[in-house]
């Protein structure tokens, strides 16, 4: 068996170069591959295309508490996402200065992004999508009536890399998630050419029931275990959640 287990995040992202495209998840704190993101920040590669379901400045957290996706903003050439910022924090205003310097933002919807990633994985050339007709999403795209209904032609997404945050990997690369950490990660792993996973635990072959595998090993190229003191470790996330109650903005947003 190929050795897929890497001992450092730096090593796992070592071959990522300028101009690469990366898909990664971010639904609030969940499923974020914080250490891979931090490693790409550190590496300083530029002109990246970033594909993500949410691109939100998590202003609630202190410096060094989390490595949020938005730290990559200065390294981006293009951003494909359904969510830039949060409405009540001024939506996409925080990326405006980068847009003026040339950042391209391609909006999409969550479901459309899921379908486009699936299309990338299944080798499709395009999909006629029912979502976005008559909206900002149809601008510049082919529109077509099929069986009496209008659709927009959307392109597949086939990223160079997927950064995955999983719960457990066995040494072959089979992954399981936990709760909504799953979300878009399985389809990201299928769509990407190279998949790198950071995981809570690396277990022996046979410890994951074959029926429960969510991402089969063939889709996973590199695995790094998240150390206890690293970003997004169970311990650190617990601490962060514990402190959420102290922040009035968080209290009002998440608990009322």
């Amino acid at each position: 068996m190929k050795n897929k287990v890497f001992s450092s995040f730096d090593e796992a992202v070592a071959d990522i170069s300028d101009g690469a495209s990366i898909v990664t998840e971010c639904w609030g704190l969940t499923g974020m591959s914080q250490n891979l993101i931090a490693a790409v920040k550190e590496k300083g590669v530029k002109d990246l295309t970033l594909i993500t379901h949410n691109f939100i400045p998590l202003v609630f957290f202190g410096e060094g508490e989390i490595a949020n996706l938005t730290i990559l903003l200065p390294q981006l050439k293009k951003l494909i996402t359904p969510v830039v910022g949060l409405q009540y924090l001024g939506a996409g205003a925080f990326v405006q200065e980068y847009v003026e310097k040339g950042l391209e933002v391609e909006l999409t919807s969550h479901g459309t992004l899921a379908s486009r990633l699936y299309a990338g994985a299944a080798g499709l050339g395009g999909i006629y999508n029912p979502v976005g007709v008559g909206t900002i999403l149809e601008e510049g795209k082919e529109k077509r009536e099929i069986d009496g209904k209008e659709f927009i032609l959307e392109k597949p997404i086939r990223p160079d890399y997927a950064f995955i945050r999983a719960h457990k990997a066995d040494k072959m690369g089979n992954l399981i998630y936990r709760g909504v950490y799953r979300a878009d990660q399985p389809v990201m792993a299928m769509a990407a050419r190279t998949t790198i996973a950071e995981v809570d635990e690396v277990v022996e072959i046979g410890e994951i029931d074959p029926e429960h595998v969510v991402t089969p090993s063939v889709f996973v190229d590199r695995i790094v275990k998240v150390p206890d003191d690293a970003f997004g470790s169970t311990k650190r996330i617990k601490e962060i959640i514990g402190k959420m109650g102290e922040n009035e903005l968080i209290r009002s947003l998440l608990f009322r």
């Binding site: 969940t30 359904p82 996409g92 459309t112 979300a183 969510v214 959640i241 998440l254 608990f255």
Partner: protein, 222 residues
Amino acid sequence: MKEKLDREVIAMRAAKELKYGDCVNLGIGIPNLCAHFIPEGVLFQTENGALGYGPLIREDEIENAEQYYVDAGGKFWTPVPGMSIFDIVTSFAMIRSGRLTTILGGLQVSETGDLANWSTGGGALGGTIGGGMDLAVGAKKVIITLEHTTKEGAPKILTKCTYPLTAQKCVNFVITDLAVIEVTGSGLVLKEVAPGWTADEVQALTEPRLILADDLKEIDLE
């Protein structure tokens, strides 16, 4: 000035559209409040991949919040037996295959059931799209909750939406602080009015002409 319904009552009325066995995805804002009024046997769905989960974690329960169990808006919820966890491809097949009901917030609704709810303008970065467009297009029943007019008194139910659209011809029901309106092939049908309000008074605050339902009645919260 006459009293309008408050947000809780709008939510309560919207929740009445759901019945035993329905699966529902609730948007942010008034729709979120519906959770408190939803009848037993209705399952909640969240875009990021869970169905049939339990109540949201309350402010005084933060210590029970678990990172693995949050909805698409980041709110923590409680796992319960019978729920299911799935990926986003499955989640949006669920949303787009007409298996769900959705209750969403609205900025504007048009005579033909167009919905604007993601942006008041400002271009691509003026708002966030998220999964709202998918829900509006794909759900089997789209219920929009909103206040009947802007703070300045301008109608939000319009002949044509002026804000950027979320989806065309997608709305089935509109529930406001003044009325319950059904979107039909012939136009907007006024089904219920808030206590103390007349159809004429509601019409005066609505741009397109309302068709009065044969059984037009006062909003019923029983």
